[in-house]
Symmetry: C2
Subunit: 558 residues, 2 copies
């Protein structure tokens, strides 16, 4: 039971303007949070209670599925990260210099800690599958905190790690874990807008990671959802096919090579050469694992280098240098294009270019562009076309032909197939049924607990308040006391209301009734209880449920 008169609490009359989200304004106005530095907030009791309620939902669902809570350290020694080579390869991590010339990692993830830890336990196939999780503060050395709450420098994560003896055993396990996640989002009232999106996780696998994405108009991730197959993709990996067939002209026109000084960008070309949007191509040159690779899409698409890299199973991909372009294509950057390219060059053409006729490309000759280029005549028809374009609104899923629904969303959970990446690095093995030494498969499962809290706030944002679901509001009952004395009289109020006393806030402040009511509404406590001398005389109290228009009078029952 919290007595508001003793609580450092001062709602603001109006919502302050912040560069963050609109829910942040309300949270500031209603004294859920206070700002400590840019993008870093202190949680007051109100916000902390929402966090604890969400934590407990996550905890209950994980425990029910026999994944066991544990607590690993926040700092870990450099040696563990050198073992997997991640010390230098992940750049958003805090490296903490420490006494005695030691270096610690302020953990953002715990694969390097959990793997050696479980080594003590996993000896036999009988010990598998096994799962541990923790709910903990994690840290990321963000360059900018980007949009307001997406990636903060410190945040609360639930991270779980499971170990398995076979893919089959895992698949079974995974289906259950997916259900655990869906239970969590359903208990947070987010189920109808939660999508499981396929996403990338590591170049050297054809497996996707799974992201749990909550549809929200303001967020960072873009989801391509196929309403036929019911499969959602993160934009970064969405396969795509142009929706509208390209206009194929029956008349094949004569090719023209046009001299146009300093006209390199597609927009300029379109203007100068009168080439329409869907009759031009965009070509980029890459250095892929040291090889020179040329890739081309229709001009109104972008090349998705991640899709291209995965298509080529490449370790590294970067734009080719000016020198390399000149050496390989005998042309200047800006004019190196698919037409006139030496035939031994490794060339990939996206299927967005497939049906183009009389189209434009660079000529591989400084200052020159060609229009009315055609496959078969001016350059050979490729054996096949590929898909490495960045998917766009209007695109289809090549597998089902269905047009994607495209929307913004926030990633609140994910599941990664770690396979044996970490178990091999730490030489974690077990004995199988034939007494042979095997390396267990690992999976990891994250839920961004603090992010989820902000997503809930934004999701339930109404005009003037956040309309919390009843199980997430910081309190169930807001009791307004209408006189100063004899609070003792109602000290057994939690018995009277038949509620956990922790969930009751008592507004005994020396302020006007109107202020009390408007604060109760701003915090959005589902039950507002009013006890006045008048009602108390008859041993009644007044209760107004947040979703009802009228309040009721109820007799006290002891």
């Amino acid at each position: 039971m919290i007595y508001l008169s003793k609580f450092p609490f001062k709602t603001q009359k109006t919502a302050p303007k912040v560069s963050d989200n609109s829910s942040t304004s309300i949270l500031l106005q209603a004294w859920f949070i206070r700002q400590t530095m840019a993008w870093v907030y202190t949680y007051t009791t109100l916000w902390l209670r929402v966090l604890e309620k969400i934590k407990n939902i996550v905890r209950e669902e994980m425990d029910n599925y026999s994944c066991f809570e544990t607590l690993m350290p926040a700092l870990s020694p450099r040696e563990l990260w050198d073992t997997t080579g991640r010390w230098d390869s992940i750049d958003v991590m805090f490296h903490v210099p420490a006494a005695n010339n030691k270096e610690y990692w302020l953990n953002s993830t715990h694969e390097e800690i959990v793997t050696p830890l479980l080594q003590e336990f996993i000896k036999s196939y009988k010990d598998l599958p096994v799962c541990v999780y923790q709910i903990q503060n994690k840290f990321r050395n963000e360059k900018r905190a980007k949009s307001w709450l997406l990636r903060w420098r410190e945040f609360v994560m639930k991270d779980a790690y499971s170990f398995h003896y076979s893919d089959e055993e895992f698949i079974n396990y995974y289906e259950w874990m997916k259900q655990v996640y869906l239970n969590v989002f359903s208990r947070l009232w987010l189920a109808k807008d939660t999508f499981i999106a396929l996403a990338d996780w590591w170049t050297f696998t054809d497996k996707y990671s799974h992201e749990f994405q909550v549809r929200l108009p303001i967020w960072e991730d873009v989801i391509f959802y196929d309403p036929v197959s019911k499969i959602a993709y993160n934009k970064e990996v969405a396969p795509s096919k142009v929706a509208k067939a390209n206009i194929t002209e029956n008349v094949i026109l004569e090719r023209q090579d046009i001299e146009a000084h300093w006209v390199i960008w597609v927009e300029a070309l379109a203007k100068t050469l009168w080439v329409p949007a869907d009759k031009s191509t965009k070509t980029m040159m890459f250095e892929v694992d040291g090889r020179f690779v040329v890739a081309s899409v229709r001009w109104d698409y972008e090349i998705n280098t991640l899709k291209l890299q995965k298509m080529l199973w490449a370790k590294s991909i970067r734009l080719a240098s000016e020198e390399m372009v000149k050496e390989k294509t005998w042309s200047e950057i800006g004019y190196a294009w698919i037409y006139n390219l030496p035939e031994w060059i490794e060339l990939y053409i996206d299927d967005s270019v497939e049906w183009l006729t009389n189209f434009e490309t660079g000529t591989n000759k400084t200052w020159f562009h060609s229009i009315n280029v055609n496959f078969g005549r001016d350059l050979p028809f490729p054996d096949r076309f590929y898909d490495f374009k960045e998917a766009k609104v209007g695109d289809k899923n090549p597998e089902t032909g269905a047009v994607y629904e495209v929307f913004k969303a926030s990633e609140v959970g994910n599941i990664f197939p770690l396979e044996t990446k970490f178990s091999s690095a730490f030489w974690l093995t077990y004995l199988d049924q034939n007494n042979k030494s095997k390396t267990p498969l690992m999976w990891c499962y994250g839920i961004g607990v603090s992010r989820l809290m902000w997503v809930v706030a934004e999701y339930f944002l109404d005009e003037a308040w956040i309309a919390w679901p009843e199980n997430l509001s910081p309190f169930t009952h807001y009791v307004i006391i209408m006189w100063d004395e004899n609070i003792d009289k109602i000290n057994k109020i939690s018995n009277i209301l038949n509620t956990n006393s922790n969930d009751i806030i008592i507004d005994d402040r020396n302020v006007w009734f109107g202020q009390k009511i408007s604060d109760a509404e701003l915090i959005w406590v589902p039950n507002i209880v009013i006890i006045s001398p008048k009602t108390l005389e008859k041993w009644w109290y007044e209760i107004k449920k947040r979703w009802q228009k009228e309040s009721e009078l109820v007799e006290f029952s002891f």
Copy 2:
């Protein structure tokens, strides 16, 4: 309800030998903790449950006293610490280099965060007193982790901060807070060995900080407890008087100046010059705020520089350099002593020297020591004697004359009078009843939650296990299932046992009964419930309470 068959859990047959405490061995053996790096442990579910139970006790007591839980960030910007000058002055802190040339402090304490935070709330005397607390991971860049658990690099703290308008108002408040603390230690069954010890906190105050110390033979702090006044002191500040009067000889002997090359240390002097322990003096030269200060104690005492510094209200104190000693005393270090000292030198003599006759001192002449030195004849009787010796076993409290009880203890809580140190640095002010701007007084209150957990373990350490108090054991019921199938039958076991299902562990492992019983005893769960086909047939179960010799048969009641 935890099913042990799915739990990564393997007790060890014997307690492993560790350089830590004996309770650590048991905790490792019983799978409460696993080691991640030197002095850093991962908590398994068992240990985490003890931690949560302790946290909840702390939380309930703080909440009851209307101190409000909040959560401040773990990282804070350098600017806040520059404001109070603590960025450079505290050397056990982690300074974290971050993106964009920023520097963060990985917080070990939160005065610099809470003060500006409360600035938004504290406007008028009506807003005071006010208190906020948090339970959070804290960090310290320890050079060595010293004895095993005293100061770890990361640990859980409850830190509270209160703001007040007057000393009187605070004193009232403080008495309550002391009670909150004593309630916590009493609910942890530590009350009878918890002492409130006075300790230092800041040079520029005559106020003590209060430490809550639990008497434990293996710990770091040394407590001087006066059984008459019931006041306890941390060794660092204990006032002291030698217990036995020094032997005063009636015959004043002739002084002798003896040449003794390279005999500087007191032990060597005693041997060479045949001077007994209590007839020699120890003199040290200091540079105190730039001044040259000489201080002397009886040879078997040490000088407590903290007591000396506080006595002199000095900002800094350090040993004087060789050059300074030579310049001021005209003597070499090692021979500069109280006898023959130029009379303008600032000299302080501890009261342990007061009654000495015919004693030994250096002669302030290289190679020379003097014996049979006497006040009044060889050097002037000082106006007064001081107390800056390090207290020893056998010493008395000068105020009451009572001989101290001296014992080792672990500091589990503390209360610091911050006065206006932080509120002035951040220009935090409020309007008093006369509308005048005032600076509020601040106090802070710590409880080392994770340390407390280890203290409890050590305190209740028995021969082969930790005999947890019933409310702290990770579970209340350990249910041993004696057959493989039909676990569903007893799925309502929490109803049957009339207990929160969270507090039940079910041992359904495929291991011998003896193993199950011995694990239940090792973890020390207060109620061991045995369900076998034989008892189940009659709808009975067997329960053995940890403190009873015999088990009972109880009928199931639904």
